[in-house]
């Protein structure tokens, strides 16, 4: 997708009209793009090829498995052994203490042989090593998840370098470093210069390259006085003309600064659900500490105390180390997935909440429809032939570069207008003006006109034909805009311009319905128009005649009914509603107030992305739940491996419980510990990538995931432990 498409998607009706009135006179190169408006731009979903390509381009060299990142993660894994770091992850802290203990006991055996009662030196060394590996693997998972963000932060930081700024004071221009700019300063940025701070355009029109923020190479237009095109970001570059900017952020608080902190994970805080899950894991760890601590007296009663190395091994196997080790990585990777999608989550909480949302509040214009009106029908009137109407439509649009014009040209040719004749050198172009309200072309002795019906009728001087009025009324009733066509001073047809629903949305909304998410369209249109678009888009409900201020009341009412609501917005008058919504996605092109109130910012300013954010939120939660379930289910097999081995001397008869028929008691315990460590590594890709997710009702998701991760979690370790045991026995390790 190129720059102007992105811009279109966020444009409002009001701005659109301004644009079309000005278009013929000031026509920047990009607006001359002949394809513009011909075809609706594709909806951005990760599935579209274009999106994939874009993602690939941005991520090239940034795959978590690429060499430099892997190396960095390995180094960080060792650094993270520092207990001060592990304090935030109590499960792994206990494993580390256990590893220290077994190492100490094993080594002490070399000095005081009595300490080694109940286990061999080789066994003690192997158990200790694998316990250290368990901690290292968990650290590695976390480091790997962080690596991409850290690398990206470094790139961003490089762009944040000091830039000189032309500060305007008392009408004079002075050169100061960007770090000295404060809120309220006015700066001038000329073509080719870097914008020194976040701000709002107060004067000038220019193209700005925002690739550093959005990864998008096509420049975007900036101008004062609009909600969506006035905000500029530090570090981006003016590529044409000049801008006067009022700075809106002090140094260190700019959007870029916040973005760096976010992608780097420096200020990453645990999300509410992550905290609750950590409490559960700590609780389970305490239960297992109790279990293992009391096993010793029980074993003493039975006449055969168990070696502490074995007890530590049992504890680590029972503790939820898999989820405990992968939990931070899952959270970081989840935020990273959203970031790769060019959406900046201002808190992890927002992504979690996105998974919970059950009502989507969508603006009609810009989100559901393109917001500009495209030609949908050409109807001959006044006794003219269809061909005459088509020719008038095509020829009058030849010189029209507005989306409306391009779409009419395309429609006329599609319906059969001869597409041979271009603009001849002798042609006279009739440009659109606000007074005349019509435009067209005079060439080869013919005059082709299109325009507001009254303007055309005034020009032709004839009375309105009955069928023209009929068509105009019908089109208005359906919420469209009628345009009259004239050929050589005679009315020949009517064009029906209508707002067009973005393709693919209908299917998306259907998916959402399957997931139990209700879509509500908000529009200022009259109920009839709203109903037409709503039916076409397939939304569940719509609110017509709504003012932006009404949104907050709609949200409050939905929340009162027990719904969690998501919305998008860009204007200042959206800010209160954005703050009220449970999930609020602001457009990067929007006002500072909107971005402040939201908890997600889309760098591409594409409101449709809210849909993807919800899917990513669900995926994050499912991944977390799946690995938790898997981790706890694993314990069953580990018990069957360790308990018979542990009490083999006291009650050899308990060997009946050893359903895996493991080689020796020592190899049984070792196999369980090794499985426990390796499963963390094995699940790292799943934790980073996320569990596969496709929209389905909760009941169906539960059934499928419970089967895979619950039942699978019970079965997998039986197989894994047996295999490891076979290898250990073959190698003679225990």
């Amino acid at each position: 997708m190129s720059g102007h498409d992105r811009e279109q998607a966020g444009v409002t009706d009001r701005n659109r009209r301004q644009d079309s009135q000005r278009a013929p006179r000031t026509m920047p190169a990009r607006d001359a793009d002949p394809m513009r408006g011909l075809e609706p731009p594709p909806v951005r979903t990760p599935e579209t090829d274009e999106m994939k390509e874009l993602l690939q381009r941005r991520l090239r060299g940034a795959s978590p498995w690429s060499g430099p990142l892997l190396k960095r993660a390995l180094r960080d894994a060792v650094v993270k052994l520092d207990p001060r770091h592990l304090v935030t992850n109590p499960v792994m802290l206990v494993v580390e203490i256990g590893a220290l203990w077994t190492t100490a006991v094993t080594l002490a055996q070399l000095v005081v042989p009595e300490l080694g009662r109940g286990f061999s030196l080789g066994f003690g060394i192997q158990i200790s090593l694998w316990l250290w590996f368990t901690v290292l693997f968990a650290n590695f998972a976390e480091a790997l998840a962080e690596a991409r963000g850290k690398a990206q932060a470094e790139t961003l930081r490089a762009t944040r370098k000091e830039t000189p700024a032309r500060r305007l004071r008392d009408g004079r221009e002075e050169l100061v470093p960007s770090s000295q700019l404060r809120k309220g300063d006015i700066v001038l940025v000329r073509e080719g210069e870097i914008i020194p701070g976040d701000g709002e355009v107060v004067e000038g029109i220019a193209y700005v390259n925002e690739a550093v923020i959005t990864g998008e190479s096509a420049p975007v237009l900036k101008e004062p006085g609009t909600d969506i095109r006035s905000g500029v970001t530090a570090g981006t570059q003016v590529v044409s003309d000049w801008l006067k900017i009022r700075i809106t952020a002090d140094p260190g608080e700019s959007f870029l600064d916040r973005m760096i902190a976010l992608v780097e994970g420096a200020r990453r805080q645990k999300t509410p659900n992550e905290i609750a899950l950590t409490i559960l894991l700590v609780g389970l760890t305490l239960v297992f500490l109790l279990v293992v601590a009391t096993v010793e007296p029980f074993a003493i009663y039975a006449g055969n105390p168990v070696a502490t190395v074995v007890l530590v091994a049992l504890l680590v196997c029972l503790m939820p180390t898999t989820i405990g080790g992968l939990l931070p990585a899952i959270g970081i990777a989840g935020m990273d997935r959203v970031a790769r999608f060019n959406v900046l989550a201002l808190s992890g909480r927002a992504i979690e909440a996105a998974g919970d949302v059950d009502v989507l509040l969508l603006d009609k214009t810009g989100t559901i429809t393109y917001g500009n009106r495209l030609a949908a029908e050409i109807i001959p009137v006044n006794g003219a032939s269809l061909l005459d109407a088509l020719i008038a439509a095509r020829q009058s649009s030849l010189a029209d570069q507005t989306p409306e014009g391009r779409s009419l040209l395309a429609l006329a040719e599609q319906m059969g207008a001869p597409a041979t004749e271009g603009i001849r050198p002798d042609a006279e172009i009739i440009a659109f003006t606000a007074q005349a309200r019509l435009s067209g072309l005079r060439q080869g002795g013919h005059e082709y006109l299109k325009g507001a019906p009254e303007a055309i009728l005034a020009r032709t001087g004839e009375g309105a034909p009955a069928d023209l009025n009929e068509q105009i009324e019908r089109i208005a009733r359906e919420g469209g805009t009628p345009l009259a066509l004239a050929l050589d001073g005679r009315v020949v047809g009517v064009v029906h311009f209508k707002d067009t629903v973005k393709p693919g949305l209908r299917q998306r909304f259907q998916e959402f319905r399957r997931m139990g998410i209700k879509t509500i369209m908000i529009t200022g249109d009259n109920p009839l128009t709203a109903a037409t678009i709503a039916r076409e888009a397939g939304v569940d409900e719509f609110v017509a005649g709504a003012k932006p201020e009404d949104k907050i009341e709609i949200i409050r009412e939905l929340q009162r009914q027990g719904h969690l609501v998501a919305m998008t917005g860009d204007g200042t008058n959206d800010a209160p509603a954005l703050a009220q919504a449970d999930v609020a996605l602001a457009m990067n092109s929007g006002t500072a107030a909107a971005k402040e109130a939201a908890n997600l910012v889309d760098l591409d300013s594409n409101p449709t992305k809210l849909i993807e954010v919800i899917a990513l939120g669900k995926q994050l939660l499912i991944t977390r739940g799946a690995i938790t379930t898997f981790s706890i289910a694993n314990d069953v097999a580990k018990y069957f491996a360790i308990i018979p081995a542990m009490f083999a001397t006291a009650y050899p008869e308990l060997g009946t419980l050893d359903v895996m028929r493991l080689a020796t008691p020592e190899s049984a315990i070792l196999s369980a510990v090794i499985f426990n460590a390796l499963i963390i590594v094995a699940l790292v890709p799943l934790a980073l990538r996320g569990v596969g997710y496709r929209p389905a009702p909760a009941a169906e998701l539960l059934r499928r995931n419970l089967l895979v991760y619950g039942v699978g979690g019970i079965v997998a370790p039986f197989i894994g432990i047996k295999l490891i045991d076979l290898i250990i026995a073959a190698l003679g390790l225990a």
Binding site: A276, V291, T294, P297, M515, G516, Y639, F647
Partner: protein, 575 residues
């Protein structure tokens, strides 16, 4: 298994199913303050109680004051019961002239009856005066049961209310549970038991000469009145030492069936009360189904093991097959009047519910069946469980199940529209930890301390099981015992007493905290994206959570106790 066994089980489960809805619906009306058919009779009495106790029935409590009321009321009851035992020698209604109960035993008994456990380290007919039995023990049997029901109802309110501060008024719940639920049923069923031959008198014991010429003392007393509440309130404390194996407590097969149904009646009914009060009866039936699945599974194992008979006898060629001429199986410790099936059924019912009344000697069950009765208690007494405590325990597990697996539907976990967050998980884990800690730590202590080991009758894994059973029973507020353990020692009286208090109140407070926290939350609208909690899949998840949490906590101990013993028995070694 023979056809008669199957008929008995199907009849029992069928009757229980039939009882659940009417009883649950009735209790829902009672606790929502609606009129019931007993209101004309009881509401003047209810109002009189409120006036006498200065209770404002309209004033509702937030969870801390609800919990404080629960704790203070039970503390007062415990002190009163302690005093009554110590002073019974000076008080009337003591025809046998029993002296004061020893301090440690009096503490143990006071803790036992106020926690709805009814662990009896004494034998009733040789220790307690009629006054102690009636004004002390029986009164506690009523109010401890009513306390459990009140807490369960408070939790239901927490789940059903939206954005509310209060979870009800403990005093009102206590009075209504006693007046409208426990008393009427006790009166009616007591009469049925009297009809079946259970005595109800205040006479001194009768001395008779037996046919063999020996002298026998036949204990008497107000048995029927205490019998019903013993079961209906899942108390379990027998009037006589032999409990429901005694012909005066449980004279006929009909009374046996009635008694088993009484144990499960309120816990099962409360699941329906829950469904009604949260506005979706399917939710209640799902909880019922999870309980029933666990019950039937335990019953199946026990029945197979017991009916299969003793492997040592089988080795000797003894016919242990059930036939028209003999019940077959392992009859040791069982009443011949009831046979294998009715005994096993009773044993599983009484341990699944935290009742603890017995009609068979659990110590004489084969090791694996003994293990099932222990495991029933260790699961937290949630298989129908104690009155009230069974439901609130199961709902805590439902919250845990939803939290662990609920994420897999792609939403942060919620149960009945209430978000399950840090505070709920903290309290739920406290609930689980309190139970596991009490059972494991006390068992560990007793199994290595000389004063702990000296009380056991049998060495090896069976002796370990006796200790393990005692603390599982105490913590689970069950009250039944492996009789081989001489529990009336200072050590056991104090530690089992503490286990009962921990198992009761350290779990009740977190439950009330959860109730308070959930009540405050809004109730989210259910939709396709909400995890359904009324489906067979959820029932399976709930059962899985209960079993896995229980198994993970107690598998090592069970392996060293009943499992090792069963395997050794197979190898020909006994203890």
């Amino acid at each position: 298994m023979n056809a008669i066994a199957l008929v008995q089980i199907v009849l029992f489960v069928g009757l229980l199913l039939a009882l659940t809805k009417p009883l649950g619906a009735y209790m829902a009306r009672v606790f929502q303050g609606e009129r019931t058919w007993l209101s004309p009779l009881l509401s003047p009495l209810e109002r009189a109680v409120y006036r006498a106790c200065v209770i404002d029935p309209a004033a509702e409590q937030r969870w801390p004051s609800y919990a404080a009321a629960v704790l203070l009321f039970n503390l007062a009851g415990m002190i009163l019961l302690y005093a009554l035992q110590r002073l019974q020698g000076f008080l009337p209604l003591n025809p046998q002239g029993f002296g004061p109960v020893a301090p440690d035993l009096a503490f143990n008994t006071a803790a036992s009856f106020s926690t709805n456990t009814n662990w009896q380290a004494y034998s009733g007919e040789r220790t307690m005066s009629y006054l102690t039995q009636m004004a002390g023990l029986t009164v506690q049997n009523f109010v401890s049961a009513a306390t459990g029901i009140a807490v369960a109802v408070a939790l239901i309110r927490g789940l059903s209310r939206r954005s509310a501060e209060a979870i009800g008024n403990f005093w009102v719940d206590l009075v209504r549970a006693t007046l409208y639920v426990l008393l009427p049923f006790s009166v009616v069923v007591a009469l049925v038991l009297v009809w079946q031959g259970v005595p109800q008198n205040l006479k001194p014991y009768i001395h008779v000469q037996t046919l063999e010429g020996g002298a026998q003392t036949i204990a008497q007393g107000p048995v029927a009145s205490q019998e019903v509440i013993k079961l209906l309130g899942t108390n379990g404390g027998g009037f006589f030492n032999a409990n429901s194996a005694h012909p005066y407590e449980n004279p006929t097969p009909l009374t046996n069936l009635i008694e088993m149904l009484l144990i499960f009646a309120i816990p099962a009914g409360l699941t329906h009360t829950f469904g009604r009060m949260v506005g979706d009866t399917r939710q209640g039936w799902a909880v019922w189904a999870a309980m029933a699945v666990l019950f039937v599974a335990g019953l199946a194992v026990t029945l197979l093991v017991e009916q299969g008979g003793n492997p040592l006898l089988a080795r000797l060629g003894v016919d242990q097959q059930a036939s028209p001429l003999q019940p077959g199986g392992n009859l040791e410790g069982k009443e011949v009047r009831f046979g294998i099936v009715a005994s096993v059924l009773f044993a599983v019912v009484t341990t699944a519910a935290s009742c603890g009344a017995v009609n068979t000697m659990h110590d004489s069950l084969l090791p694996l069946s003994g293990g099932v009765t222990m495991f029933n208690m260790q699961l937290g007494e949630v298989i129908f469980g104690g009155v009230g405590s069974g439901l609130y325990g199961m709902l805590i597990f439902a919250i845990l199940a939803v939290f662990i697996a609920g994420l897999m539907v792609g939403r942060t976990p919620e149960y009945l529209g209430k978000k399950i967050e840090s505070f709920e998980i903290k309290m739920a884990m406290l609930f689980v930890l309190a139970g596991a800690a009490s059972i494991l730590v006390f068992t560990a202590w007793a199994s290595v301390a000389p004063y702990g080991v000296s009380s056991i009758l049998n060495p090896g894994p069976h002796g370990f099981s006796e200790i393990f059973y005692a603390y599982s029973s105490g913590t689970g507020n069950n009250g039944s015992a492996f009789a081989g353990l001489s529990a009336n020692t200072l050590f056991y009286n104090v530690t089992v007493g503490l286990a009962m208090l921990i198992g009761r109140f350290l779990t009740m407070v977190p439950v009330l905290a959860i109730a308070g926290s959930l009540a405050r939350k809004p109730r989210l609208a259910p939709g396709l994206g909400t995890m359904p909690t009324h489906t067979p899949l959820f029932v399976g998840m709930l059962v899985g959570t209960v079993v896995i949490v229980g198994a993970l906590s107690f598998f090592p101990a069970l392996a060293l106790g009943p499992i090792a013993e069963q395997l050794l028995l197979g190898a020909g070694r006994t203890f």
